[in-house]
Amino acid sequence: METVTQKTLYLARVQRHGEEAVKKLQNACVGIAGLGGLGSHIAISLARMGVGKLVLADFDRVDITNLHRQHYFVDQIGCLKTEALADTLRKIDPWIQLELYPVRLTPENIPTIFGSCPILCEAFDKAEEKAMLLETALAELPHITVVSGSGMAGAGSANEIQTRKAMKRLYVCGDGETDVAEYGSLFASRVAVCAGHQAHMVLRLLLGEDDSAL
């Protein structure tokens, strides 16, 4: 088996993405609040693309009812999501820097936990928690940009999921309408589409892509 080192992994990424992009990603730090269907998939994409540091927060443990859409495995049931996801991310990039917070996020601890992250992904389940995180992060952390997910329930068309710039420092991904309480189910495919939108918006921000078309 080929021996993978930090150097060979770096060079493999440079071969695909070019050195300029790889350096920008490697020097980046991104926060993810909530490690469920959205957060676990966002983290996987960002680690694959070579984001150097992730700050991951979720108080919950892996449950059998998570496996239908979240990036966990049967042998991780009962583990903290922070620890379980960290194990998976280190299989993708053994040198990724991870800060893990197995705590419930509140208006009191959000500014401290994510204070060093220029970009934060909101990946909560409940609408009230999403609103709380947005209010806290945008009010308390004047340099942070938030990429949020809202509206990915049900089996409607995946094409309805979009990314839009909703505020000066807020991007919202999703269809904006399908509430899980009303549409009943969250399917792995549609949730992953939304997570893909969020991870891709993070990529575009890190690469400095123009967002005027949003």
Binding site: G37, E128, A131, E135, A139, M152, A153, T178
Partner: protein, 64 residues
């Protein structure tokens, strides 16, 4: 007032909470920005929206 990109007639100043209720939003599930600044939920009852303001309201739904 410019609300979510559209011109909206506002005859007299209203509190954020009144405006949200008039438009059918659940105040616990929104983020509100006025002239580029976020307004905290604790201030929804006292902060006023005026005709010259630019306001963005993002309503969230559950699931993630």
């Amino acid at each position: 007032m410019k609300w979510n990109g559209k011109q909206t007639a506002l005859e007299a100043p209203v509190t954020v909470l009144e405006f949200l209720q008039q438009q059918g939003y659940n105040a616990q599930r929104v983020a509100v920005e006025r002239n580029g600044e976020i307004i905290r939920r604790a201030d929804f009852e006292k902060e006023l929206l005026r005709d010259e303001d630019t306001v963005e309201v993002v309503g969230f739904v559950g699931g993630g």
